[in-house]
Symmetry: D2
Subunit: 144 residues, 4 copies
């Protein structure tokens, strides 16, 4: 995986993503944002499973999503990640969802904080995570 | 259901709400916001299933959530709905999640637009929906 | 909650239960079976959250479901639990899903084993769980 | 995709698959079986989305799963599909879940019937679907 691939993640809209209105049920879009984040961490040598046992935990304290066009069963969707903010103990990620032709479908933003799993207190981001995040392209804060 | 109950909806955190970190997986909180919305509509005499067949559709074009405290398996949570904005063709709802003692757990906001199901074009909100929404207490726009 | 209520649990089919075919996505039915199980335990004084920390764990090692009639958005469904088998270290539960008029909609069966959370080894069912299970009505093994 | 790949499908256990017990929540395994089925159809030139609009529908009328070993966050899992039965108006598929070393993790079975979407009546399987199903390796009925 090269740096240019680092922020790209693709998925197919599955039956469990959809609802009786025939489109993605709005919270399910966030699963795919989180999958992209999981893959990004993995390709940076960071495993969520290890963070859960060894810490720190990185809970999402805020998320926002803009739904720009309907996504339907079988649609192929590409997710591009970006770094919106990087603080001492928190970071904000952006996710742009588009179809194969580049048509924007959705935007998502997640704010994560690093906490000690035992005490729940905020703590500094680990260096390897900070280095991984700096490899993401920067973006402005775009999703409402 | 009295007007004072109209915006109250309770749920128990179930195993499918949680993830390996032991708390609600962040998108799942939005299921419960949508359940509260569904119940609110139902008690106002409006059925989502009928809207899906007869229109208009009311897709969510934006959502945002603040996670204030962890919610764990078996926790009892109360949701209080409010009306943040009511336009000609759209409306914004607020949801405050709290425990039995009133401790704030989360805040959610959803923005809905009315569209014609066949054409996807925006259209005015139906009168019975407008009337139902005006019965909700007003709130300021609070979730990021 | 009386003994006659003990095995009854109701739910409304929500948007997140459905898929683009307009009916419950088949795995989601099992969420409601598990919710009924969770409520049954709770009303018997047993909390899943406490079992997760203190043990034993009661993982499901087998499940089966028969889908007899479509369940759609807004449908009200009643679940009745039964005890199909009760062994030294395992038990099998049945769940009958029906509409308000008693029309059968689905049948589910789950097989649980008691294991030590640390070692993963099978262990005897705790006495309070055994007592709770004996209060459920018996049923034959009906779901394929 | 060669015939030998036709029945292979891999996935990574994501946070949304897991629950507070730290393993896959049992219904979520079925999502992955259905994803494998979706991919198998797609590689056979059959799109679920088109079946939903043009028919026939292929609802699952029975499913069963055996959980043989815990699957945890980050685990890589391979699914191999097989054909257990192929009738005039129905078919039964098998799914074997294993880790990279071939260790069995789970078995799933799904029974599908072809119905006319408008009337709900059973109808013969389309020829292109029948041809696709005959390319799957045969298996005995193994999941309880």
């Amino acid at each position: 995986m090269t740096d240019s691939d680092l922020q790209a993640f693709g998925f197919t809209v599955r039956l469990q993503d959809t609802d009786a209105a025939g489109v993605i049920f709005f919270p399910h879009l966030l699963h795919h944002a989180h999958d992209a984040y999981d893959e990004f961490l993995r390709h940076s040598g960071i495993e969520l499973a290890r963070l859960l046992t060894e810490g720190p935990h990185l809970p999402i304290v805020h998320c926002a999503a803009d739904y720009l066009a309907p996504m339907r069963l079988g649609d192929r969707v590409l997710v591009r990640m970006s770094r919106i903010a990087l603080g001492e103990r928190s970071f904000t990620l952006g996710y742009r969802f588009a179809d194969a032709a580049g048509k924007p479908l959705a935007r998502v933003r997640t704010v994560h904080v690093a906490i000690d799993a035992a005490t729940g207190k905020a703590r500094p981001l680990p260096q390897h995570l900070r280095r991984a995040l700096t490899r993401l392209p920067e973006a402005e804060d775009e999703a409402g």
